[in-house]
C-alpha cells in the first residue's frame, strides 16, 4: 500500500518535472497571464471587473475573425484590442460615469461579451488560422539549435522552445511591474485605487485614469483570449475560454495584485489545467481513482476556492486596493 503510494507520487513527480510538461504548462498559462495582468491593472484603479471571461471571448472572436478575413497578424491583434476594449469601455461607462454596482456591471459584461463573441465566432468556426500567421507562431525564436548536455537540453525544451506570444506575455508582466512600482504614472494609478478622493484632491485626473486603465486592462484580456483560437487551438470553438476568465479573478487575489507574481501564479494554474491530460497518458496513474480525468479537470477551480477561503482569513494583511467596489462621486456630501 505504502509502496503504491510512493511509486504513484514518484510517477506524478516525474511527470510534473519533465521538460515537456513544464513546456506545455507554460503554453497553457499564456491566456491567464495576459488576463491576470489586465485585470490587475483594472483593479489597481479601484475597479473589480468580473467581465474578464466576456472580454477574453470578445478579443478572441474579433481578433480571430480579423485574422481569418485579412490574414494579417497586426489586424488580428488590433481587433482583439478593439473588441475587448469595447467591452471594457462599456463597463467603464457603467461603473465610472454612471456609478453602477461593479459586480453587476461585470457579470453583465461577461454574459453579453460571451454571447456577442459566440455569434461572431460562428462565422469563422470552420476555418483555421491562416498559414502565414500560423507560421509566425511555429517559430521558436530563443530555441537552441544544438543544446549540449542534459541540463541545456532540459532548459531548451522547457523554457526556450516557445513561440513569441509566450515571451511577450512574460514581458508584459515585467513591464507592468516596473510601471506600477517605479514610475510616476504607476504611482498615480495606485493612489487612485487606494484612495480616489485623495488622488482627486492631489490634482490627478481620476476619471481619465480609471477609463484609461480599465480599457487597457480589457485589451490585455482580449490579447490573452486571442491566443486560444489563433495559436493554441488554431480554430474557433464557442466559449473556448472555458472559465479561464473566472480563474483570472481569483488569480489576481492569489498574486496579491502584483504583476511579477502573476507569472508564477498563471503557471501554477496552467499546470493544473493540463495535469489531467498528462496523467491520462500514464498507465500507472490513470488507474487510480483520484486521478480520474474529470476530477483532475476540477483542480484549478478547487484551487480557486481554496485561494479565496485562504484569502478571507488573511484579508487584514493587505486587502488589495481599498477603492475596489466603491463608486467615486466628487461632489458627494
Amino acid at each position: 500500500m505504502i509502496g503504491d503510494f510512493f511509486s504513484a507520487t514518484g510517477s506524478l513527480l516525474s511527470i510534473v518535472f519533465s521538460a515537456s510538461f513544464i513546456a506545455s504548462a507554460i503554453a497553457f498559462s499564456v491566456v491567464m497571464l495576459f488576463g491576470t495582468v489586465g485585470e490587475l491593472i483594472t483593479e489597481r484603479a479601484g475597479h473589480l471587473n468580473l467581465g474578464v471571461e466576456g472580454m477574453m471571448l470578445l478579443g478572441a472572436s474579433m481578433g480571430y475573425f480579423a485574422a481569418v478575413r485579412s490574414s494579417s497578424l497586426f489586424l488580428a491583434i488590433l481587433f482583439a484590442c478593439v473588441g475587448a476594449g469595447f467591452g471594457a469601455l462599456l463597463y467603464a461607462i457603467l461603473t465610472v460615469t454612471l456609478r453602477v454596482n461593479q459586480n453587476v456591471a461585470g457579470l453583465a459584461l461577461s454574459i453579453f461579451g460571451a454571447g456577442l463573441a459566440n455569434s461572431l465566432g460562428s462565422k469563422v468556426s470552420n476555418t483555421s488560422t491562416p498559414d502565414n500567421i500560423a507560421k509566425i507562431f511555429k517559430l521558436k525564436p530563443f530555441s537552441l539549435s544544438s543544446p549540449s548536455g542534459p541540463f541545456l537540453t532540459f532548459i531548451n525544451k522547457a523554457f526556450l522552445s516557445h513561440n513569441i506570444y509566450v515571451y511577450v506575455a512574460v514581458l508584459v508582466a515585467v513591464v507592468a511591474t516596473v510601471f506600477l512600482f517605479k514610475t510616476r504614472a504607476g504611482l498615480e494609478l495606485r493612489l487612485t485605487g487606494e484612495n480616489t478622493a485623495a488622488a482627486d484632491a492631489s490634482g490627478i485626473k481620476v476619471t481619465r485614469i480609471k477609463y484609461f486603465y480599465i480599457i487597457l486592462g480589457g485589451m490585455l484580456c482580449g490579447i490573452g483570449g486571442l491566443y486560444l483560437p489563433l495559436v493554441q487551438q488554431g480554430s474557433w470553438t464557442s466559449n473556448m475560454t472555458a472559465g479561464q476568465g473566472w480563474l483570472v479573478v481569483a488569480l489576481v487575489i492569489f498574486v496579491r495584485w502584483h504583476p511579477i507574481k502573476a507569472i508564477a501564479g498563471a503557471y501554477v494554474f496552467g499546470s493544473l489545467t493540463i495535469l489531467g491530460f498528462s496523467v491520462q497518458l500514464n498507465e500507472r496513474l490513470s488507474s487510480i481513482p483520484i486521478f480520474n480525468q474529470y476530477i483532475m479537470s476540477m483542480f484549478p477551480y478547487l484551487l480557486t476556492v481554496v485561494v479565496l477561503i485562504a484569502f478571507s482569513f488573511r484579508k487584514k494583511a493587505w486587502p488589495g486596493p481599498k477603492e475596489i467596489g466603491r463608486p467615486y462621486f466628487r461632489e458627494e456630501r
Binding site: 512600482f181 517605479k182 514610475t183 510616476r184 504607476g186 504611482l187 498615480e188 495606485r190 493612489l191 487606494e194 484612495n195 478622493a197 485623495a198 488622488a199 482627486d200 484632491a201 492631489s202 490634482g203 490627478i204 485626473k205 487584514k316 493587505w318 481599498k322 466628487r330 461632489e331 456630501r333
Partner: protein, 536 residues
Amino acid sequence: MEPNIRKDTQPAFSMRGITKIFGAVVANEAVDFEVLPGEIHALLGENGSGKSTLMNVLSGIYRPDEGQIEVNGEIKDFRSPGDAIDSGIGMIHQHFKLAEAMTATDNIVAGMKKPPKNSIKKDDVLRANILRYASRSPSKTHPKINEFSSRFGIEFDPSIPASQLSVSQKQSVEIIKVLLRGANILILDEPTAVLTPQEAKKLFTVLRKMASQGCAIVFISHKLNEIMTLCDRVTVLRKGKSIETCNVSDIDAYDLVEKMVGRKINLSINKPDPDPKKQVCLEVKGLTYSDSKAVPKLDNLSFTTHYGEILGVAGLAGGGQKELCESIAGIIRPQQGEIMVDEERITGLSPRDITQKGVAMCFIPEDRLGMGLVASMGIDENILLKEYALTKGPLIRMKDVETKAEKIIKELDIKTPGLKHPVRMLSGGNIQKVILGREIHLNPKLMIAAYAVRGLDIHSSYTIYNLLNEQKQKNVSVLYIGEDLDVLIDLCDRIMVLCQGKNMGIVDSSATTKEEIGQMMSGTTLEELRRGVSYV
C-alpha cells in the same frame, strides 16, 4: 502680533456671489469672501452654515451654481481640484485625504506636476529633484522633503506609511503636499479638531510662519479662542450666507457668537455639585484589550465612577475610548480585567443583560448614523429597538412605544414632522437627541455618553449638556467621552485622560487646565506632571 497685511494690496483671492445648491438644500447663498496675501483669515460658522461647502468650491471639488472666483485678479473657472492647485490653492481637508497603505512620500509626490524646464527658482529646482527620484528611488527624495518641511518648522518621517503616522503628522504631510505643489493660498478645514492643545500651538507657529512668507491662509473653525489668538480677520457665515467680515482686534468672543448664531447665547454651563456621598457605581479593574490585529487598545485600565457625578474621558482620537465604551456595553470582550456595576460583575454578559443591569450607552460615531439607530426607521421604531426586549409575550404593543416616543419628542424638543418620519431625514442635533432620549428613558444607573455633541451646533450642544446634568442630578452616574477640552472642564466633575489605552490619571476639573490635560493626552502621566517631568 501686528498683522502684516496691507489694505491696499490686491486680494489673494476673492469669491463673489457664490451659490451652491444640493438638491433642496441651499448650502451657500450669494456668499462673498476675500482674503489678502499674508493674512490668516478665519471662516467662522456653525455646523451646516456652509463653511466647508464654500471652501470646497474654492478648491475645485464643488462647482458653484452661481458666482465667480478671482485668484490674483484673474477670473477662474475650476473644473477639478487640479485646476485649483494650478492656481496655487491648497486645501487641508478635515478628514485627511491620504492613502493609508502608501508612504508619506508617495502621498506627497503622486500627482505633482513637473516644474517648468530650466527654471532656476529655488523651489522649482527642489521640486524637479524630488520628482526625478520620487518613484525610482524614494530614499533619495526623503532628505529633500525634510529640507523643504523644516523651512516651516514641520517634521515627519517621509519614509513610513501614512497609517503609522500620528494624526498631527498626517496633517503635516497634507500641508507639505499642498505647499510642494506651490500653494500660496492655504485652506485648513477645522485643523485643530483632532490635535492636542500643544500640537495646535505648534500648528499656529507653522501657520504664522507661512503667513509671514506671504501665504494667504483660511482657517475654518468654530473655536472662538483659537480665532481670537491666531487670526487677523474673521468672516462669519450663517445658514449659508456671509454675515460680516471684521478685524479680530475690533471684536470680542460674545459678539462673534451672536453673529454666528443670530442671537445672544449664554456660553457657561450650569454645573450642579456632584453627590457628596461618592457611592461607587462602575468599577473597572485592569481592563486590557487588543484588537484582531493584536494592536493593544486598552492597557491595564482601572477607574471608578460615582453616582451623581459626571466623569469625563479625554484623549486623542483612537486612544481607546471606543473600546472602553464597547467593553462596558458588552459589545467586545476584553482579554483581561473586570467590570463591575454595583459590585456585580458584568464582564462576559451579553449586551442585552448589561442593559438590564442599568447600563445605557449612547455612542455617536464619526458618521453619526452608523451606530445606535436604524436610519430608515421612525423615532418610534428606533425606540422599540431597545424597548422590545423588556416587554412580555411575542407581540409588540406599538401603542406604548408611540406614547413613549411622543413623550421623548416633547421633553427633548425634537423637531420632526411626525414620529414615523425616518430619522435619517432629521438634522444631526435631532438625531442625537433621539438616541439620548431613548437611553435616558431606560432609567439607567450608568449612562455612557460618547461624543454626544459630535457635529452639533452650539445651541443643540448646550441642550445636551443640560440633559446630562439633569441625569447627574437624578443621581445617575454619567461617563462622558468628549473631544472639546473646554467643555470637558466645564461639564465634568472629574476627568480621566487616556493615552493609547492607558489611564494617565484622573484630575479634578476645578483644579486643572487644558494644557495639563493636553500633556497627559500625549503620554505624560499625572504623577510625572506633578513631579515636574514633561516630555512635550
